[in-house]
């Protein structure tokens, strides 16, 4: 049993593949699946209805949360009908193209702090005391892909997800599906621009494109990154608003569900059934989780718990020390809670607003969001310039 030590465990856990599996199956897929139920239940509560509350395994009912299992089983065993006229190869490829990029994009999200396995039971001091330096050689960074162009990677990869919809529309050999695919492309092109520009201000303020760096430092180096006032929502509130609108449009959900367009064209997945349709559906919900993760990481301090530093709660100079494992657990929990709350808010918006018309969508994107994000970059840059020349 010599091989079983923290060093080897760290090697396994620090492997990107291991982390990806943990993230995808531990947080993303469960949350996205539960969202399929939560959307129906939450919309019901907003409309004075009960919603799905009856699925159960024997006496276990959990307010109907098990509906997502019933839905998954149903979709897997449903007939997978493929119309005769479709392009079979591309028809089969499209759902994969829609689902895969969203999961890949999660690689840049830091979903927890760096874990030092040797120190799990100890209080972690930011500045090790001389003579008793802790063994910090083994570390597990809870972020799969740490790279300096982090958020650019997200824009690049998530754009690929749009090919799924467009190819689905084209391969279906159905004019309504094709219209849906085209609408999806045009919407993506219109809103991708403002989405990127809306985040530009945060890059200027934080001084980095790397989500892990933004989370670990905040915008003001004088304060702890765990201070909520040090998170980027404070200096970048208009940027947050612009990014949120553009990102909701990017997920192709109401009020921006023009590609789906249920009353008129059903959308690019009109010819899909069974689990293939389920993959489009799941991709949509994973995009919600992803958008929430990005907003959490960039604007709301990611895994940071308010006033919880690496060694414990620090408030007004006094420290309530906590062991490393408790800090790590609380921080991962905080990340999950923030993402969940933002998902909830997206569902709230989705069930509040009616759909935009296609022309309203375009004019909102090009005439309002784009100039507003450009103006906000200018304001942020000017502000930063003035502060830098004033404060040095």
């Amino acid at each position: 049993m010599d091989w079983l030590n923290w060093h080897n465990v760290s090697l396994v856990l620090d492997n990107p593949a291991t982390k990806w599996v943990l993230l995808a199956f531990g947080l993303v897929m469960p949350l996205a699946s539960i969202l399929t139920w939560m959307e129906r239940r939450q919309s019901a509560m907003m409309q004075d209805r009960l919603g799905p509350n009856r699925a159960n395994i024997g006496p276990i009912k959990l307010k109907g949360i098990l509906h997502f299992i019933a839905d998954a089983v149903k979709m897997i065993f449903k007939e997978d009908f493929i119309p005769g006229s479709v392009h079979r190869g591309l028809f089969a490829l499209a759902p994969v193209l829609a689902l895969a990029p969203v999961l890949i994009a999660f690689a840049i999200i830091p979903f927890g702090p760096t874990v030092y396995p040797h120190e799990l039971g100890n209080v972690l001091h930011s500045v090790p005391l001389a003579g008793e330096a802790p063994n910090l050689t083994d570390s597990i960074r809870l972020q799969i892909f740490q790279v300096d162009f982090g958020l650019i990677f997200y824009f690049a990869v998530l754009t690929l997800a749009n090919y799924g919809g467009t190819i689905a529309g084209w391969a279906s050999y159905n004019k309504w599906a094709l219209l849906g695919g085209l609408r999806s492309s045009s919407q993506m092109m219109s809103y991708e621009v403002s989405m990127g520009l809306a985040l530009m201000g945060t890059f200027l303020v934080a001084g980095s494109l790397e989500p892990g760096y933004i989370t670990a430092h905040g915008w003001n180096s004088h304060y702890s990154p765990a201070n909520p006032l040090n998170w980027l929502w404070l200096p970048q509130l208009p940027g947050l608003l612009l990014f949120f609108v553009a990102a909701v449009a990017e997920t192709k959900r109401a009020p921006f569900d023009i590609p789906e367009g249920e009353p008129e064209i059903i959308g690019y997945f009109v010819e899909y059934s069974g689990i293939r349709w389920g993959m489009f559906f799941l991709a949509e919900f994973i995009e919600i989780v992803f958008i929430s993760s990005v907003i959490t990481v960039v604007f709301f301090g990611g895994y940071q718990v308010p006033f919880l530093d690496e060694d414990g709660f620090r408030f007004a100079g006094t420290l309530a020390a906590l062991p490393h494992w408790a800090v790590v657990a609380m921080q991962i929990g905080a990340f999950g809670a923030k993402v969940f709350l933002l998902c909830w808010f997206q569902l709230l918006v989705r069930w509040t607003l009616p759909r935009f018309r296609a022309d309203q969508l375009m004019s909102l994107g090009w005439k309002l969001l784009l100039p507003a994000s450009l103006a906000w970059i200018m304001i942020t840059a000017l502000g930063k310039l003035i502060l830098m020349s004033a404060g040095g």
Partner: protein
């Protein structure tokens, strides 16, 4: 959308506000979209406020009692601090049906448990859905003469209009069970026959076949209440 044009009456009631007149050319004021119309912010904020209020109320407050559901308003004291969900979860919770609710049919019985129906064919004649099938047979009794050998009602075809009950001259068919038509796996199972209809029935106290030709002798003293069936003295056999 908080739009000024909707809230304030126009200055000139005959048309748009005239800013200037140059001969035949008038410069009028038109309603331009305001900033909040273009950004949708005010409307979005208002809408989210409404849905959030409903969500919070329905999420945190307990449900009303099943007995209070379906009643408009309900008793104010009982409705306080309850949410606004009106859904009745049917098999477990039921609302009280009104007295005249028309449910499944039933055939009433004579004192000896025999069917009261005399196969007069009034109900299949009046039935707009043609869902009643009666094949009569002779009883061998000169009093009743006929009875249904087959009495079938296709509950899938029935439109629950209640005309058969109105048409029946001898209180043989009723729709007062308060039960719904049961779900079935095969269409044939939805056809109620004479035995199943009779099994739901009870003894009727009404006089069979009216009061007969000598009804004047049995009628109550006051002619103002004609032919009160329930108080008829004896069955005519």
């Amino acid at each position: 959308m908080a739009h000024a044009a909707h809230d304030e009456p126009p200055a000139d009631h005959d048309g748009p506000k005239v800013l200037a007149v140059h001969g035949k050319v008038r410069t009028i004021q038109v309603a331009r979209p305001q900033a909040e119309d273009v950004t949708y912010l005010a409307a979005t904020k208002k809408g989210i406020g409404i849905t959030l209020r409903h969500f919070a109320k329905n999420f945190f407050l307990p449900r009303r009692k099943a007995a209070d559901l379906g009643k408009a308003g309900g008793a104010p004291a009982q409705q306080a601090w309850k949410n606004e969900i009106e859904t009745v979860q049917y098999p477990e919770e039921r609302v009280e049906y009104p007295e005249r609710f028309r449910g499944l049919h039933r055939l009433m019985q004579r004192d000896d448990g025999a069917v009261r129906c005399v196969a007069c064919m009034c109900c299949p004649t009046v039935c707009p859905a043609h869902c009643i099938t009666i094949i009569p047979e002779e009883t061998g009794d000169n009093g009743t003469e006929k009875r249904p050998a087959v009495f079938e009602i296709d509950e899938l075809r029935c439109v629950v209009c209640g005309l058969c009950v109105e048409a029946c001259p001898c209180d043989a068919i009723r729709m007062d069970t308060g039960e719904h038509a049961k779900p079935v796996y095969e269409r044939g199972d939805a056809i109620e026959n004479r035995e199943s209809l009779l099994a739901r029935g009870i003894r009727s106290t009404a006089a069979q076949g009216g009061l007969g030709p000598d009804w004047r002798e049995h009628a109550p003293a006051k002619a103002a209440t004609p032919a009160s069936h329930t108080h008829a003295p004896t069955k005519k056999k």
